[in-house]
């Protein structure tokens, strides 16, 4: 007996019922599927019988006047040459020409061949996509077609990554093409539940693609946000099981951004979890391990226009591992085809590393470390933006790290948090690390932010495991100038101590602050880095082992001797810290400044991670 898919049987019954057959008659023909069919056929019947919404007659009449007037005008216009622009019709000659070219010349068809290596910003890219569509015309086997679509989707992602590596904006055409290929492949495989190998291939590929698309978020321009959201939603939905009736993520659920939120999960109800005081909806569209009440989790959430959060993915942190990756920022000393060297430490770069721009020797980069089977590797590498020079009237763009206490309720969806008396804008991708406790009024947090056009935008907010009086704050930023008795550090205005020599412009400072009314007063400050010093590296890490002056962190081992400037609570295993240092003559990373952030451990049972190798493996030196 010929196999018929359920889709086909359902479609036949829907058509038959519309032509007058009863539901029971159809069910009798397919007793095996009767129960499933009945539910869907009954629902379809109910939807068909739903009374239509009717327009208001006066509005319909008013609109008719416009149409009637326009028709009268058109009738009076002289007729020119008319082009046939019927939808899709104009594409056919182009596609047929391409097909003929492909058929006649195969791989040597000049333009088509040239287009095969084009990137989305090339005028030939359209030809490349069209030639792929033409190829699909001649594939009649669904499984083969799905395989081709999966391959084409893979190529789209490679193109996106290549554009990002070249530090070019990713245009909407490739995002739309990625979406369509993933959707079409998923649709075909939904019709062929027996093609498990292909479905697995699609799911695995979509998992990597989704992770890459999420990392791409900051690079996507506002005008391309819609195709980006559609591509991300389609990629996520391709990972969902097809044997369940799951309504996938809608692009609108991502309209206000995609955020990382980590912390301890507390169950609110069946579909709602609280993480660090923020409520996240978790349902059948959320991909990841089941969540247990009280477990440490990391969510990637979509944020809709009402500020509601819906989890796309969830991962649980293994005991003893920090929930978010450590970060290394510094100047690249060496580039090989296997990785980069910063402060004498080799950091492997793999095919999975998300590279923004081409990494060059001497460039300042920020590397987020991730875990692989062989140990720590670079998960992302991004260039560190050089602060824009200050114009006469224009305020420079400043990077700053600020510590302060949350004021007011941040539980409600809001785009602004008040911290240490300053208002920070929550951007569409502000990450929130609440591993150490809830983000609520009175909690001390660390904010990584940018100040531009008098606005502070938070990139990451980390809840700290430490008590703090509300008037206490701290700042790490570059000293810009002193004017009229005010210091400008990291774009913030500070009241300096009396009889103090101003630091040199461009000096990186750690400033201990106290709030007096609306003023931030400098209690004390430390010079972290001189303006002309490029040898220091910054580490944002968690301490996994302490042995006297030697701290073991994700990046390796750091020596924090008594000569280093130190601030914050006493170091503890499991606490997070920001460390500046450079490689000493013995090849050891020697700290010059360390700031411990947590009074208590944020990791319950820390276990040292495998540090990255300190020697550079053999390989061809990169450019």
């Amino acid at each position: 007996m010929r196999f018929r898919s359920f889709n086909s049987i359902l479609d036949e019954c829907l058509a038959a019922i519309q032509q007058g057959e009863t539901v029971d008659e159809c069910l009798a023909r397919y007793p095996v599927h009767a129960e499933r069919l009945e539910r869907l056929l009954t629902l379809a019947d109910k939807v068909r019988s739903t009374p239509p919404a009717l327009p208001r007659p006066w509005r319909q009449a008013a609109a008719w006047q416009r149409v009637h007037q326009r028709a009268t005008d058109l009738r009076a216009e002289p007729k020119g040459v008319q082009f046939n622009l019927d939808y899709g019709a104009w594409l056919r000659p182009v596609a047929i020409t391409l097909a003929v070219l492909l058929a006649l010349f195969g791989a040597t068809g000049g333009t088509v061949l040239a287009a095969q290596n084009s990137l989305p910003d090339s005028p030939l890219y359209r030809v490349k996509l069209a030639s792929e569509d033409v190829r699909l015309w001649f594939v009649f086997d669904d499984a083969h077609k799905a395989q081709i679509l999966i391959d084409q989707s893979n190529e789209r992602m490679d193109e996106i990554l290549e554009m990002n590596r070249q530090d070019k904006e990713v245009p909407s055409n490739v995002l739309t093409a990625l979406r369509s290929r993933n959707e079409r492949a998923a649709d075909i495989l939904a019709e062929h539940p027996d093609e498990t190998a292909l479905k697995t291939s699609l799911v695995q590929q979509a998992e990597t693609q989704e992770a890459n698309l999420i990392l791409l978020f900051p690079q996507v321009s506002d005008s391309d946000r819609t195709p980006y959201n559609e591509a991300l939603a389609a990629t996520h939905n391709a990972r969902l099981p097809t044997d369940q009736a799951v309504a996938g993520i809608h692009p609108e659920e991502l309209s206000d951004g995609v955020q990382h939120i980590s912390g301890t999960a507390e169950k609110v109800n069946e579909n709602l979890w609280s993480v660090g005081g923020l409520e996240v909806r978790v349902d059948q569209t959320t991909i990841g391990q089941p969540i247990e009440d009280g477990s440490a989790v990391s969510f990637v959430v979509g944020k809709n226009s009402r500020g509601q959060l819906r989890a796309l993915t969830v991962s649980t942190s293994p005991a003893g591992q920090p929930p978010s990756g450590s970060v290394v920022s510094g100047q690249v000393e060496q580039v090989t085809d296997q990785g980069i060297v910063i402060a004498g430490q080799f950091i492997p770069i793999t095919s999975q590393t998300f590279l923004t721009g081409k990494v060059k020797k001497g460039q300042k980069v920020e590397v987020r470390l991730g875990k692989s089977e062989t140990g720590l590797v670079a998960s992302t590498v991004r260039p560190v933006a050089t602060p824009a020079p200050a114009g006469d009237e224009q305020e420079p763009i400043s990077q700053l790290t600020f510590e302060g206490v949350i004021e007011g309720d941040v539980k409600k969806p809001t785009n602004e948090w008040k911290i240490g008396g300053l208002s920070f804008t929550i951007t569409p991708d502000t990450a929130i690390d609440a591993s150490a406790g809830q983000a609520k009024s009175g909690t001390r947090v660390l904010v990584e932010a940018t100040r531009q056009d008098k606005q502070l935008s938070a990139h990451k907010i980390t809840v700290l495991a430490t008590d703090s009086p509300p008037e206490s704050a701290a700042l790490i930023g570059v000293f810009d100038k002193s004017r009229d008795g005010v210091w400008y550090v990291g774009g913030l205005q500070l009241v300096p101590p009396e009889r103090t020599t101003d630091p040199l412009a461009g000096t990186l400072l750690f400033v201990d602050l106290v709030r007096h009314g609306g003023d931030l007063e400098v209690k004390s400050y430390t010079r972290i880095q001189a303006p002309d010093d490029t040898s220091l590296v910054r580490l944002d890490v968690t301490i996994t082992k302490l042995d006297g002056a030697l701290w073991t962190v994700d990046f390796g081992t750091v020596r924090v001797s008594s000569t280093a400037d130190f601030s914050g609570p006493e170091e503890t295993v499991g606490a997070r810290a920001i460390v500046w240092g450079r490689q000493n003559q013995n090849g050891v990373l020697e700290a010059t400044f360390a700031r411990v952030l947590d009074k208590t451990a944020v990791i319950a049972t820390p276990a040292p991670a495998s540090p990255v190798p300190s020697t550079v493996p053999a390989g061809n030196a990169g450019p």
């Binding site: 109910k46 939807v47 609109a63 009738r75 509601q308």
Partner: protein, 217 residues
């Protein structure tokens, strides 16, 4: 497969079209394959509208304005926005009517293709302005147990549930089961294959069932 049947208010025009035996043989053959004599009758009406004949334009307007309005209302839940959409689509329909060429598909598929594109633009603009309202929770769409026995769905419930479907699933439900298009026309409007439409309608009905009645299909 039966093509969508369109009920036009100007019965006189349609009757006239049905009575005309020697109309456009080629077009008739194509329409005949589509299996819907009304499609042929409508093509006759469209040809008159292409010459800007007032009665024909009004007939098309009276037929499609309410349909496009219903299509827009179910997807946006906003009376004013749905009326604006219907008005814009009708204007666009008349301005572009000479670009329509009969290829066996109902004229409605062409009109709804305009409506769908216009709706996508509107969604983009509204999202940029932060106007998209997803405030209705799914619980307000859940059907009560006795609703299972009722013949039709409550329009409000349907509209809220539709918001929680993917865009393509929502399109298939509205175009196929509310607007009455066949798979080929739905595919043309959505730029998808007929096979994809079959697959989508299965998933869309399954998702809708789950959203409304909380059961698995």
């Amino acid at each position: 497969m039966r093509a969508a049947v369109w009920t036009l208010p100007l019965a006189k025009s349609l009757d006239k079209a049905r009575e005309a035996p020697a109309r456009e043989k080629a077009a008739g053959d194509v329409a005949g394959r589509a299996g819907a004599p009304d499609v042929l009758a409508e093509w006759d009406l469209v040809k008159r509208a292409q010459a800007f004949e007032s009665a024909a334009i009004e007939a098309l307007y009276q037929a499609y304005y309410p349909k496009v309005y219903n299509y827009g209302f179910l997807q946006m839940g906003d009376v004013q926005a749905a009326e604006d959409l219907a008005s814009d689509v009708m204007l666009k329909m008349i301005e572009s009517i000479n670009k329509y060429h009969f290829r066996g598909l109902p004229f409605g598929a062409w009109v709804f293709r305009i409506a769908r594109n216009r709706l996508i633009d509107l969604h983009r603009r509204r999202r940029r302005r932060g106007e998209v309202d997803l405030s209705e929770t799914l619980s307000s769409a859940l059907a009560s147990p006795h609703a299972l026995a009722e013949r039709a769905l409550d329009r409000g419930q349907l509209q809220v549930a539709l918001k929680h479907l993917t865009d393509e699933q929502r399109q298939v439900i509205v175009l196929k089961f509310i607007e009455g298009f066949d798979n080929r026309s739905v595919g043309k409007i959505m730029a998808r294959s007929e096979g994809a439409v079959k697959s989508l309608q299965h998933r869309a009905l399954g998702s809708l069932r789950r959203l409304l009645y909380h059961d698995r299909v």
